[in-house]
């Protein structure tokens, strides 16, 4: 089967590539665009390690075909920091909210999407929003604290 030409914006940069019709967005990001910060943990949409934002919607990039990204805007962990870290990234380091760090990119992308919708979530709202992002190391305690601390800082700055 011939490949599909995909033209998309990733982290603000226009990119083009040829996608195998069976290729996931996750695989295209990692293997064609060298954006390996987005991780595969399950390939079935259960772990959230591959979380990215496509046209403002939080998605598991393992469940989306690369060809579906044509004409869309994709945001990954690599686009999260500017010259300085995003407050979530900084708070994750300060709160020791990561151990192995493998789930961290997906959790950061998901948490950013939460705070854009709800700048002042309850702990329970954070927990349910992140229920699709598995972390096996931390027991989530420090993740919740880091998200809340970042949210408070962002509210203060706003």
């Amino acid at each position: 089967m011939s490949k599909i030409h995909v033209s998309t914006i990733v982290n603000g940069d226009p990119v083009e590539f040829l996608a195998n019709p069976r290729e996931t967005l996750l695989d295209a990001l990692r293997n064609q665009l060298d954006l390996t910060g987005t991780k595969e943990g399950c390939g079935t949409g259960d772990c959230g390690a591959c979380s990215v934002v496509v046209d403002g919607t939080l998605v598991c990039s393992c469940l989306m075909l690369a060809a579906e990204a044509n004409g869309k805007k994709v945001e990954t962990i690599e686009g999260m920091a500017g010259e300085e870290l995003h407050p979530l990234q900084r708070k994750f380091i300060e709160h020791a909210a990561l151990q192995c760090g493998y789930c961290t990119p997906g959790i950061l992308v998901a948490a950013k999407a939460l705070l854009e919708r709800n700048p002042d979530p309850t702990d329970t709202e954070v927990r349910y929003w992140l229920a699709g992002n598995l972390c096996r190391c931390t027991g989530y305690d420090k993740i919740i604290r880091a998200v809340q601390d970042a949210a408070a800082e962002m509210r203060g700055a706003a």
Partner: protein
């Protein structure tokens, strides 16, 4: 950066600086196993048995090899013969020989120019199987009539007359158990079962291997121990370990499951057949669950005698554990010593058998064997406390092991902190919060030996007065930060001036993996000794410059000082000055230390959990959770808390949800995270921690190791809390809603 308290006088130890790898990990730059690529790299896929037990009649790869872009296929025929013992087991598990022994057992592997093509090619490899009888349950595997799945697995320890699937037998004990039971006011006896669970690291196994026709190779791999990967891969391929250079990636969780090989040698074998092109091999989640590292499943008889005042007079256990289709993998050798490790009981008898079954080859999982043993023993202790209306912490304090106790498994404990954890749990607010309807509280203690092991560390002084530390234990949970803190404390320089790198097999002597809670203990201890070694040399350089005896120079606060008034008056010479001049004062300055680390300090913890059980559905909600554990010394308290919280979460998952579910056909029914349900954020409350610090005299800063004990108490503590909430005792994990609901209904009836 302030210390949590001021009692030690340390400047850095006990502070919470940012971890050195934090920035890479929050920006996506950290490179894990699957993130590594090389020019000309091929991708591999593995063909796996769909049968629990089958003879492999024929493997026909001709259709796969006919595809454009398919470069190599490897089967068992490509691997050397004549291996014995565990090397043969590793080879048998890497690729099945005459028989596939479990659902998911690798049968062949293929390398192609893309991952999708490799997967297509794997589907075209035709394997003809003759299905054989199988058995997957631990008790069924040793029942009369169960198929013997491998002949001759029993070692010398197995008594005559046991089933052919029994591979190993152990027994030990002390005192007169029968007299102890006779002296008790109540004697109770029950059977407890735990199902196999998986470590559940979010990063699937991944590696890139390259091997040329000269038989020399390289591998980049996510692993807890790259020297183990090197030795095991070399053994499976019949090459010398020195021909293989293994570089560890960042590791996305391991919990013991990445201390061994599963598919890594296949990347090398495929590379060699493909003309030396590098081959990347990445497992899918279902491959991880079907074919890598679950725990043993266990069936355990426990008998205890207790006086009405709570004194335990005698205990007896008989454990049956299966660790998959290969002998040596079920942790009976750890489970038995852990069973009563928290207690000082006058008479104990321990027995266990290891059984093989048609399941994947088990691997270590956080305190291997201890959680199962704790579930059995601590559950029964709790049952008897409830029957006698005794406080469970008071009973543990009454019978608990303490300094100088002879442990249940032989050695005498040096300085331990079990009773301190019990006292702190008793005094904690969580232990006195009133409970509401359908709520219950559970308490349990847990133990892990901790481990020293082969360790080699080098420290190099930089020209600018910094220090670079080379360690061989991959950093999973922040050990570069803790080792950096200890080295900076020792040298008397800022934490930021120390860089700790995990280096490849060519850069150090043999290191055991990051396992047994040993990285901060053993690599830390060796790093401190390496720093002291460098300090001695720096003092010598300063002495030469000053023209005084090296013995007259001492190191403090990052500089050489004349020691005492007789040494002469010289301004301190800092590590920066010494480093900047070292090229002209004798050459580079390094410190090195290698050792099989001794002085391990045992680890104890006590957990308190409150649950609420929905009587209509049997669903359990964790209301609050407390971990109290002795760290010895908490070098970086945030990562100590992280280990406590993470261990508790895994234990809660084991207690409530996680289990390997096998169908009647012997196939794993839940090989994805949707069905193998690990705890998610909305399942858990905040996990409260109390760090007890009873320093380990065997470590320069008192470290014990904190990784493993925390997974042990949750299994019995959660089940006991459910019993408190419902009156129904679950003696077979997990306490899944249907099982709890059935137990509630039975208790009502």
């Amino acid at each position: 950066m302030a210390r949590d308290d001021v009692k030690t006088g340390y400047k850095l130890i006990g502070t919470r600086p940012n971890r050195p790898d934090g920035l890479d990990k929050v920006t996506g730059r950290a490179r894990y196993g699957a993130d590594f690529s090389l020019p000309g790299m091929l991708h591999a896929a593995v063909v796996r048995s769909p049968h629990a037990h089958a003879r492999i009649v024929k493997i026909d790869a001709s259709k796969a090899l006919a595809l454009d872009g398919v470069k190599a296929v490897v089967t068992r025929a490509d691997l050397p013969t004549g291996l014995t013992g565990e090397d043969l087991n590793l080879q048998d598990n890497t690729l099945a020989g005459e028989r596939a022994l479990y659902d998911g057992h690798a049968v062949a592997a293929v390398a192609a120019t893309s991952a999708l093509l490799a997967q297509d090619a794997a589907r075209l490899i035709e394997v003809t199987y003759e299905v054989l009888p199988h058995v997957t349950d631990v008790d069924a595997a040793m029942a009369p009539g169960a198929p013997v799945i491998r002949e001759g697995v029993a070692d010398f320890s197995v008594p005559e007359g046991m089933h052919g699937n029994v591979a190993r037998y152990m027994e030990f004990g002390h005192g007169d158990v029968e007299a102890g039971f006779a002296a008790a006011d109540i004697v109770r006896e029950h059977t407890y079962k735990t199902e196999a669970t998986h470590q559940g690291y979010i990063e699937p196994h991944a590696c890139v291997g390259q091997m040329g026709e000269d038989g020399r190779g390289e591998m980049w791999v996510c692993t807890q121990g790259h020297w183990y990967i090197r030795r095991m891969s070399a053994a499976v391929l019949g090459i010398d370990a020195a021909n293989l250079r293994v570089t560890p990636s960042e590791i996305g969780g391991g919990f013991g499951g990445k201390t061994t090989i599963f598919m890594e040698p296949l990347s090398l074998a495929l590379s060699r057949k493909a003309g030396g092109r590098p081959v990347k091999l990445v497992m899918s989640r279902s491959e991880v669950l079907r074919a890598t590292g679950p725990t043993a499943s266990a069936s355990m008889d426990v008998k205890l005698g207790m006086k009405s005042d709570g004194t335990i007079t005698a205990g007896q256990v008989y454990f049956r554990m299966q660790g998959g289709a290969f002998p040596g993998m079920s942790p009976i050798g750890e489970a038995l010593p852990c069973a009563f490790a928290c207690y000082d009981i006058p008479a104990l008898k321990h027995e266990a058998v290891e059984v093989i079954a048609n399941r994947p080859k088990a691997a270590a999982y956080r305190a291997p064997g201890s959680p199962m043993a704790a579930f059995a023993v601590e559950s029964l202790v709790d049952e008897m406390c409830r029957e006698l209306k005794l406080d469970p912490i008071a009973v543990r304090l009454k019978n608990g092991a303490t300094n100088g106790s002879k442990s249940s498994y032989g050695p005498v404990y040096n300085v331990i902190g079990l009773k301190e954890t019990l006292e702190a749990a008793k005094d904690h607010l969580n232990y006195t919060v009133p409970l509401g309807p359908n709520q219950g509280r559970g308490v349990a203690s847990g133990f892990w030996f901790n481990h020293g092991g082969e360790t080699s560390v080098t420290l190099a002084v930089g020209e600018d007065g910094t220090a670079t530390v080379m360690i061989g234990t991959p950093d999973i949970g922040g050990s570069r930060a803790s080792i950096g803190l200890m080295v900076a404390e020792t040298l008397g320089i800022p934490y930021e001036n120390v860089r700790v790198n995990v280096v490849e097999t060519g850069a150090l002597g043999v290191n055991e993996p990051t396992h047994g809670s040993r990285a901060t203990f053993a690599s830390g201890k060796a790093a401190v000794e390496a720093a002291r070694h460098a300090m001695t040399e720096m003092c010598r350089r300063a002495a030469a410059d000053w023209g005084i005896d090296p013995e007259a120079v001492e190191w403090k606060d990052g500089a050489a000082h004349p020691a005492g008034p007789n040494a002469g008056k010289f301004p301190p010479m800092t590590i920066g000055e010494i480093g900047s001049k070292m090229g002209s004062t004798g050459g580079p300055i390094s410190g090195h230390h290698e050792v099989t680390a001794e002085g391990v300090g045992a680890s104890f913890g006590t957990h308190v959990v409150d649950v609420e059980v929905d009587p209509e559905t049997g669903r359990t909600t964790i209301l609050r959770y407390l971990v109290v554990q002795d760290a010895g010394t908490a070098i970086h308290p945030a990562y100590v808390e992280g280990q406590y919280q993470g261990g508790a979460a895994q234990g809660i998952g084991w207690a409530l949800n996680e289990e390997y579910v096998y169908g009647a056909d012997g196939r794993l029914q839940n090989p994805i995270f949707l069905d193998y349900r690990v705890p998610v954020a909305s399942d858990l409350p905040m996990i409260d921690t109390v760090i007890i610090e009873v320093p380990n005299p065997g470590h320069p800063y008192g470290v014990r190791g904190v990784g493993e004990t925390g997974i042990t108490p949750p299994l019995p503590a959660v089940a006991s809390a459910i019993a408190g909430a419902t009156g129904a005792r679950i003696r077979s994990l997990p306490c899944s809603p249907p099982k709890v609901l059935a137990a509630i209904m039975a208790a009502r009836a």
